[in-house]
């Protein structure tokens, strides 16, 4: 059974090589990629079943005597992450095949490098979850980052290069921080193996251990986009192609969260830095969601909610109790699926209605009822409406916070509740504007906003009042930025029409490939299924969290008496 452990890394890498050789045969390339990912899903499923029986599975690569070689460790936490991310990656892959990002449709991706790169990304993510030492974790970060650099700048358009520059520089900087922390760890302890470190770090002077912990936390906080290290995310994600944004939003930040969870529990169980992390969680939640409310593009809005909801996971890690860890793990699994599903739906909306800007959209619910349903369910799930899994995950985390009961923990509980409400506000606003009102209203609204402070406002006409950067009209408050965007929308409508004009001119492409809608629907179904199996899943995450708190399970599995 141990032989299965390296396969989630090996298969995608081999598949990537094969897919690269099949560059000129797109059909074969697609087949290879899909087969590989199906196999990874199956293997992850088997591993989840096996590890849940008891001890973690350990493989020493290259048959070096422990503890010299590189170890891959599959325990409950890593296998659950592996399974969820493999399912999500498969759904996104099917979706992107429907979208035609394989070289056939040459407009966006001139070369058929999409599939090999995607497989490298999956291999990197899998390796990060399985890595048993810090340097291997670094290498897997680099694998997935490199794949993400390529995917983010696909086609090399101006917007993507601009976003890619920031993304690459920020991530290279965080990689260097990681390297520095590895050098410090090695100088202090003489090993990078996580199991050995968990024994040796405890005997270090407190100050040295604290420096190592802060270095690692900073590194992972950049990856996970925890405030105040989150500013790179909302700007870089939305410019990428829809499936790429979806898979990034689902997986990449969660790898950072996983690394935080692993190092906090395994290496530093005695000093959880609860106060610092609680503050980080609180600020991440609130500042992220306030950013989301201000956006007038749905993709950017969702990127901000992504940042905001990372705060919930950090909250669980900060509490450092079984309930907290369990809630955080459940929340990660839930959030990976719904965040990806939402971005996939947005890709469909963009294709069906021509835009994701709230100024241009209207009446999508009538235009495409299926899309509306597929947006509505994960959106309500994100906001945490009972009985969906978002609600259950939040209840788990908030009750863990109340259990701890310090004033700061209770403050974060309050902030979490507020964040849920504000998330509901943000998605409800999106629903009202993009899906519910008619395209005509959207069109007139954009014109009304654009014309709001021109002098030609006459008596009796509907008027909008300008007060301190906001325009009041009806129940709407519109900020100056939106007005400028609206003006831009109206000004360039010749080349860039809004949905109303598209409908008038009958320019819409009614066709949505079945694989795109099918993949999205499947992912929405998975997110609903998480709700249905929430009981057993919480049981599983409880056991995983118990394993995390009792470090001996992990350490004993990796090191025998002889090798310590």
């Amino acid at each position: 059974m141990n032989l299965l452990v390296p396969l989630p890394v090996l298969l995608p890498l081999l598949g990537a090589g094969l897919a690269l050789m099949l560059t000129h045969r797109p059909h074969a390339q697609r087949a290879v990629t899909v087969v590989v990912l199906v196999m990874v899903v199956a293997i992850a499923g088997v591993l989840a079943y096996e590890t849940d029986k008891g001890a973690p599975l350990v493989v020493w690569i290259g048959a070096w005597d422990p503890p010299l070689g590189i170890s891959l460790v599959a325990d409950r936490l890593s296998v659950l992450m592996l399974l969820v991310s493999a399912v999500v990656a498969l759904a996104v892959l099917v979706y992107s095949i429907g979208q035609g990002m394989t070289g056939d449709d040459a407009e966006e991706t001139p070369v058929s490098i999409y599939h090999p790169t995607y497989l490298v990304l999956v291999a990197g993510v899998a390796n990060a979850f399985l890595a048993g030492d810090l340097f291997n974790l670094f290498v897997s970060f680099e694998m997935l980052l490199f794949a993400s650099y390529v995917l983010l700048t696909l086609g090399g358009t101006e917007g993507r290069i601009r976003a890619g520059t920031i993304y690459v520089v920020v991530n290279v900087l965080s990689s260097f921080l990681f390297l520095i922390s590895i050098a410090v760890v090695y100088a202090a302890t003489g090993t990078v193996n996580l199991a050995q470190l968990s024994e040796r770090l405890t005997v270090l002077p407190e100050g040295v251990a604290l420096i190592i912990q802060l270095l690692l936390l900073t590194t992972f906080a950049i990856k996970a986009a925890v405030f105040p290290l989150s500013f790179w995310l909302p700007d870089s994600y939305p410019t990428a192609p829809a499936p790429v944004t979806a898979v990034f939003a689902g997986l990449l930040t969660k790898v950072g969260v996983y690394a935080m969870l692993r190092t906090q529990t395994l290496l530093f169980p005695d000093q959880p830095l609860t106060t610092l992390l609680l503050w980080a969680a609180l600020l991440t939640m609130l500042i992220g969601i306030l950013g989301a409310i201000a956006q007038s593009d749905i993709k950017r809005m969702l990127s901000f909610t992504l940042v905001s909801h990372i705060g919930f996971m950090v909250f669980g890690i900060a509490l450092a109790t079984t309930a907290g860890f369990s809630g955080a793990i459940f929340y990660v699994a839930h959030h990976i699926t719904i965040q990806t599903a939402l971005f996939l739906v947005l890709g469909l909306v963009e294709r069906r209605a021509g835009s994701t800007s709230l100024l241009k959209l209207g009446g999508v619910a009538r235009l495409a009822p299926l899309l509306a349903v597929m947006f509505f369910i994960p959106a309500m799930n994100l906001a945490g409406i009972p009985p969906l899994s978002g609600f259950l995950g939040k209840v788990g985390l908030l009750s863990a916070g109340i259990e701890v009961g310090t004033p700061l923990a209770l403050a974060v509980v309050a902030a979490g509740t507020l964040t849920s409400l504000l998330t509901l506000y943000a998605v409800a606003k999106t629903w009202n504007l993009a899906f519910w009102r008619t395209p005509e209203q959207a069109h007139e609204m954009a014109h009304a906003i654009a014309a709001q402070d021109e002098e030609t406002v006459r008596h009796g006409e509907p008027r909008l009042v300008h007060r301190r950067n906001y325009v009041h009209g009806g129940s709407q408050r519109i900020d100056d930025l939106t007005i400028q965007q609206a003006r831009a929308t109206v000004a360039v409508e010749e080349d860039d029409p809004d949905l109303h004009e598209l409908l008038e001119k009958r320019l819409l492409d009614r066709h949505l490939p079945l694989s795109m809608t099918g993949a999205t629907a499947a992912l929405v179904a998975v997110s609903v299924a998480i709700t249905v199996v929430a009981g057993p899943l919480f049981g599983y995450t409880d056991r995983a969290a118990a394993n995390l708190l009792d470090r001996t399970v992990y350490v004993d599995a990796v090191l025998t008496e002889r090798t310590r």
Binding site: Y186, P234, Q441, R463, R467, R468, N469, G474, S475, L481
Partner: protein
């Protein structure tokens, strides 16, 4: 563990200079900063590996006198990764120059909007004052009208 001070100071200087260059606007300078940073960190690994010794070849040298090979392996991996990163950023800088005529790191959209908003603040304050002097300006009537207007459509 004894620490080689020369190596340590050189590493620290390179990291410092690299960080300074990283804060520059031009992507080429950022790139030079990244290279300096990475080389500084690689020197740091050599500091971490302890005093220099014989080459780590067990068949020829005594295990007691060889230097620690593991940090050297780390450094090799880091060098390879930096090479890839540098070439990617170079390509991006070139593409950016092709598209915009400059290789500057451009402003984040959010930053730009915040700045626009701040600039608009002064103007809107003046607008607000002028608005409040006009006799027929009442906040309340307007939203209702707009609401009714929408419904009738």
């Amino acid at each position: 563990m004894t620490v080689d001070l020369t190596l340590l100071l050189t590493a620290a200087t390179m990291v410092g200079v690299g960080t300074y260059m990283l804060l520059e606007r031009s992507l080429t300078r950022v790139l030079i900063g990244l290279v300096m940073l990475s080389n500084g960190i690689n020197l740091g690994f050599l500091v971490a590996s302890g005093p220099a010794g014989d080459p780590p070849l067990l068949s020829r040298y005594d295990a007691a006198t060889i230097s620690d090979p593991l940090p050297q392996a780390f450094v090799l991996t880091a060098i390879v990764i930096t090479l890839g990163t540098v070439s990617f950023i170079l390509a991006m800088a070139y593409r950016s120059w092709q598209l915009t005529g400059a290789d500057d790191v451009q402003d984040d959209v959010e930053d730009a909007s915040i700045r626009r908003l701040a600039a608009a603040d002064e103007a809107s304050e003046g607008f607000d004052l002028g608005e409040s002097r006009s006799p027929d300006d009442e906040d309340d009537e307007i939203p209702e009208e707009l609401g009714r207007e929408r419904e009738t459509r």
